[in-house]
Each structure stands twice: as C-alpha cells, then as structure tokens.
C-alpha cells in the first residue's frame, strides 16, 4: 500500500515533442492518497491508459516524476515498483491450474512454499473461486479468468497499488455488476490503493471514492461522484457524466440575471466573467421542471425510460432535455423553470465560481 504522487507528469509518444499538441498526456500533478479507490474516467484516446501505464512503469513519462510514498520510482521497472495490474483482456497462464496461477507471482519471488499455500488459499476464498483451485485456468469463463488476474495482484501482501485497465470490457453485463460490487467489497477489506481506468461512468461512479475525469490528455476534474454531478468544473464533465448529460446554453450575463435570447434566468449569486469569454449556463436535466410558469418550451420528443421520462425540446431554439418523474405531469403548453441550485456558469468551457453574496 502506498500513496502515489504524480509530480508534473507529461508524456509524448513522439521522440521530440515541440508543441502542446504533441503531448498525449498534458501536465498532470496529483496525489492519490494511500488506500483510495480512484477511477480515471474519460473517452477513448483521452490519455487515461497512458497515465495508468506511467504509474505501473510500463511507460516512462517524457517529463516529471512518479513517487510511491515519497520515494522516486520513475526510473524503476514494473516489477521493482511492486504493483499489480489487471488488463482489459483476462491474462491467465493457460497451462496452469487456478492455484498455480495464483502461486506464480509468489513462487517467482522465492516465497517459502508453506506461506504460498496459506496466501493462495486465502485469496481463492476471497475471489470466490473456492473448489476450482485445481481446474485448468484456460477452461474457465472470462469473468473467472479476470478474477484470477485480480487474485494474482491481491496475493502479494506487499503490493503498492493495484491498477485496473478497463477490466470489465469483456465481461457479460450481468456479471459486471457482481464483479464490480465484489471489487468494492475487496477494496474495503484489503484497503489497497486502487486505480481503475474506465470509459464507463457507472463503473467509475460506483467503484471509486475519487473520480479523475480526463479529456484530450488533460485532467478536467477530480472529485467525488457527487461533486462531478453537482458542480462539473468543465462542460465536458457535464456532458460526459449523467444520462442525459448537462444542458449547456449560451447566455449573456447581466448582474444576477442570465439571458438566453429573450428568456431571463435569475442566478443565485452574481458571477464575474472576463470580457470576451464565451459564456454558458449549465444545468442538469434533473434541475429543470415543467409547469405553467417559466420560459416557453417547445417539446419535440418524450422518452419514457421507466422510472423517469426524458422530455426533449427547444428553448429559444437551443436543444434542452428535462427529466420528469414517473408521475410527473407534462402540460400541453409547457413552460420551463430553472432550479437556481443546479445552475453553473462556464466561461470558455470552465466553471466560474460565483462570488460570495455581498
């Protein structure tokens, strides 16, 4: 177990990076506290796997340092860093049994056989593969194989961190749920530092204490699932997290009022925006309501998704989605009301903190 510090890390896959655009991973400076479950979330190609491989030591960053518990490990190889990694596709040693697979990392490190046996038996129970110890690993299903891969990480009691690279990609949907909750339980039990890469927001939000959202090689927000939902610090986070994503509308600010075309929306607090910046108002569909009061709203489509209805329409010709409860009434001539608590203001896509009320 260890605290992981990323000290001004940058990475470019080209040999001689010149401009900012050459970097697949733009500057990352962050600390993962010891024992946290952290998720790196972002779309494909955002640099999250690059960052993971830098932590694991499979990649050496172009700039910056990686520290485990304050010790510089940037130059160390993967095995010297003493981490474990679970890959997208389950990696098991086909010709070995489940037991042998789990014993492999210990035996390679010359651990005495008696201790190997205790550890392996313990882990087999922990990952719920009891009774399969002597089965050949290649005969198992994908989710069991992935458990073995995880088990090979857990079996070493001294690992600094366990890294997951989209580990549930090849698992059936109904098994995903089970594995995810088992993983969460395991984390509570063993308390290893875990870093989990995924592009699936549900996975990230259910697994992690802290979610790092990445976009085009940059960290756009680090926060708890609630923070990401309530106060997305970048419009991308607003779109990416939540289903449907946050509504983002271009506005003109006038004191504590935001104007969307003809519509005036009162703000909870004044926001100061520099001149010339692109100003937008972000509000999640959950904070909008339909009724007889408010801005004129033209409904174009209603999607019933069971517990909720998603109402899509336009406000001053900007597309807007509204979430209405199961029994929520949708008036024929609906008007749209904004809940001030859910309003965030963005300048050039980044959130602006409202000024304290005078």
């Amino acid at each position: 177990m260890a605290r992981i510090d990323l000290d001004h890390i940058r990475h470019a896959y080209t040999a001689d990076p010149r401009s900012e655009a050459d970097y697949a991973l733009k500057e990352v400076h962050h600390t993962f506290a010891d024992g946290t479950a952290c998720a790196l979330l972002g779309p494909s190609g955002c640099g999250k796997t690059t960052l993971l491989n830098i932590i694991s030591g499979l990649l050496r960053p172009s700039d910056g340092k990686v520290l485990f518990d304050g010790r510089d490990v940037t130059a160390l190889s993967t095995e010297e860093r003493n981490i474990a990694q679970v890959f997208q596709f389950p990696v098991v040693y086909d010709t070995m049994t489940v037991y042998q697979n789990l014993a492999f990392p210990l035996r390679n490190r010359g651990v005495p056989e008696a201790e190997v046996d205790t550890r392996v038996r313990e882990i087999i129970d922990m990952i719920d593969l009891g009774g399969m110890a002597d089965r050949r690993a290649n005969r198992l299903t994908a989710d069991s194989k992935q458990k073995i891969a995880l088990g090979r990480g857990l079996v070493r009691s001294d690992v600094n961190a366990i890294l997951f690279d989209e580990p549930l990609t090849v698992i059936d949907p109904h098994m995903k749920w089970m594995l995810r909750s088992q993983l969460k339980q395991l984390h509570r039990r063993v308390g290893f530092t875990m870093v989990y890469v995924t592009h699936d927001q549900t996975e990230a939000l259910t697994f992690a204490d802290v979610v790092v959202v990445m976009y085009e090689g940059e960290i756009v927000q680090i926060g708890t699932p609630a923070e990401l939902f309530e106060r997305p610090s970048h419009t991308f986070v607003g779109y990416f997290i939540g289903s449907p994503g946050m509504n983002v509308l271009p506005v003109k600010l006038d004191g504590t009022t935001a104007r969307i075309g003809e519509v005036a929306v009162p703000l909870p607090a004044p926001v100061k925006i520099e001149n010339g910046a692109k100003t937008e108002l972000g509000i999640r569909p959950e904070y909008l309501s339909l009724g007889r009061e408010g801005a004129p709203f033209a409904i174009s489509k209603i999607e019933d998704i069971g517990r909720q209805k998603i109402v899509r329409g336009t406000l001053e010709s900007h597309p807007v989605a509204v979430v209405v409860g199961e029994d929520g009434e949708i008036p024929a001539d609906a008007r749209l009301a904004f809940d001030p608590a859910g309003i965030n203001i963005y300048a050039d896509s980044w959130r602006v903190e409202p000024e304290a009320r005078a």
């Binding site: 694991s56 499979l58 095995e79 997208q88 990696v91 492999f104 390679n108």
Partner: protein, 287 residues
C-alpha cells in the same frame, strides 16, 4: 420459412466431387487395383490377392528403407522444430528489420526442390564445392558420394536449410498473436525469461507448432526430389528413403505389383501417423 426439397441441388456438389475423384480417389484406386494383381504386359492382369503385400511386408529391403525413413524424419523434426522456434524467438517483434527477416526466411522456401538438390550437390562436392572443400580443409575426411555418414550429414543439413524457415514463419506468426498484456503481466509477476517461454509463448504457439510438426512430418516422410538429386539414394542404398525405393521398384525394376502394394502401405502409414498425432495434440481443446 418453408424449405423446398430439391434434389437438383446435388449438381452443385458435382464439381468438387469430380475434382476429388480425378485427383485423389481414381488414382488411389488404380494403385489399389495394381497392388492385388500380376501382369506380364499386353494389358493382361491376374488377380493375386495379398501376395504383394506379404512380399513387401516381409522384405528386408522395405524394412531397411522404412527404418532409414523413420530415422530421417525423427532427426529433422528434432532439429527443425526447436531451431525454428529459437530463430522465431530471436526475430524482432517490430521495426524495419521485420520485413527483411521475413523475406530472408522465405527465400529457401521459394527455391524449386530439384534446384535445392543440385545446389547442395555442387556446394558439398569435396574438390570444388565450398562446403565440401572447407570441411576437408579443416582436416575432416568428407565425401558424400562415398561415405554414408557424410551423405546423411549432407541430406539432413540440406533439409534443415530448406525447411526450418517454414517452422520459423509459423512459430513467428504464433508469437506475434500473443497480446502485449501477457508480457506485461509476466513482468509484473516477475516471471523469468524461461517462465515466459514455458508458460506463455509455448502454450500460445501450440496450435501453430502442431501444424508445423504435421507439415514437416508429412513432407519429410514423402521426401524424394532433393536426396534423389543430391545422392541418388547412395552411396549404396544408405540414403534410399521410402519414396526413392518406391520409384526404383516401380520405374527402375518395373515391379508394378510390389510398387503399388508399397504405395498403399506407405499411404496408410502416413494417414495413421497424422491421425494419431492430430488427435493427440487437439485432445485438450475439445473438453
């Protein structure tokens, strides 16, 4: 959906049936036909039952060439498979040298078999051939047209040169199909280079190696052209393998019955060996 029953569909199978009939079944049955009959020319044939089979199976000449054949096949398999795997492991995984290596490896496979024989014949001549001259120059008495040992050495060396590439290419294809994650996982588990080979590379290469062994077994069991050009089966009969012996019987001595019986026995042996081998190697996959 209603399925219509239409027997005219059988005509669709006809081309394949004709092809297989003319290039496999009919020639094979002709041989079977010869193997149970005696002829004195004039297209007159007399039924002889299993006489030729008994003669072949009890002849010391057949036993000798079969023994030579089995030794030859085992020797070249024992050299070519490990050597091919070793070369494939040594080849770069990526970069500009990959195509260079692949072309170099493919070259021996592109040379016609009788040319290979002729090349090695000249190459190994003790007085003017580079190989033969060098071996004699370092003080070893070497003459493949007179000494059985030298002849065997040359035939085996020629086959290794000609066919190891095939094993290399197959093994390399097998190695390339292993995802990087396996190597990364092995590094994380601090596996030694030997463990990586034993527990990752070898199991992942199993299928292609099965094919490599099968192909090399069948091909070497049927080997004819190269040793025929190189040694002509000599000195004496020391490099007379099964197919050389078969051609001697059929065309040299015009013993059609004996030759046909030998062919059938030869065919059944190859078939049996391949079947056993294939069943053994694929048994694990089906469970």
């Amino acid at each position: 959906m209603n399925k219509t029953l239409n027997n005219r569909a059988w005509f669709m199978v006809l081309p394949v049936l004709l092809l297989v009939a003319f290039n496999a079944i009919i020639p094979l049955m002709t041989v079977v036909n010869y193997s149970v009959q005696e002829t004195f020319g004039n297209n007159l044939f007399f039924f002889e039952g299993f006489k030729w089979y008994e003669q072949v199976l009890t002849s010391s000449r057949f036993h000798a060439s079969l023994t030579r054949q089995i030794i030859f096949t085992l020797v070249i398999l024992a050299i070519e498979i490990p050597l091919g795997v070793a070369v494939a492991l040594a080849m770069p995984r990526s970069g500009p040298w990959v195509p260079v290596c692949l072309v170099l490896m493919a070259l021996p496979l592109l040379i016609p078999w009788n040319v290979v024989g002729a090349m090695w014949n000249i190459f190994a001549l003790p007085d003017i051939g580079l190989l033969g001259y060098v071996i004699n120059a370092i003080g070893i008495d070497y003459n493949f047209t007179r000494q059985p040992g030298s002849a065997w050495f040359t035939v085996v060396l020629m086959d290794v040169w000609h066919w190891t590439s095939l094993v290399v290419l197959l093994a390399y294809a097998g190695l390339r199909s292993i995802p990087d994650a396996y190597y990364q996982a092995a590094r994380i588990d601090s596996a030694s280079a030997w463990s990586v080979f034993r527990y990752i590379q070898l199991p992942k290469m199993r299928r292609v190696l099965t094919i490599a062994v099968l192909l090399r077994f069948i091909d070497s069991f049927m080997i004819y052209t190269e040793p025929f050009v190189l040694t002509g089966g000599g000195p004496g009969n020391t490099t007379t393998f099964l197919s050389i012996d078969l051609v001697k019987a059929a065309l040299g001595e015009f013993n059609l019955g004996i030759a046909a019986a030998m062919s059938v026995i030869y065919f059944l042996m190859t078939l049996l060996a391949c079947w056993c081998f294939y069943t053994l190697m694929t048994r694990g996959d089906e469970q």
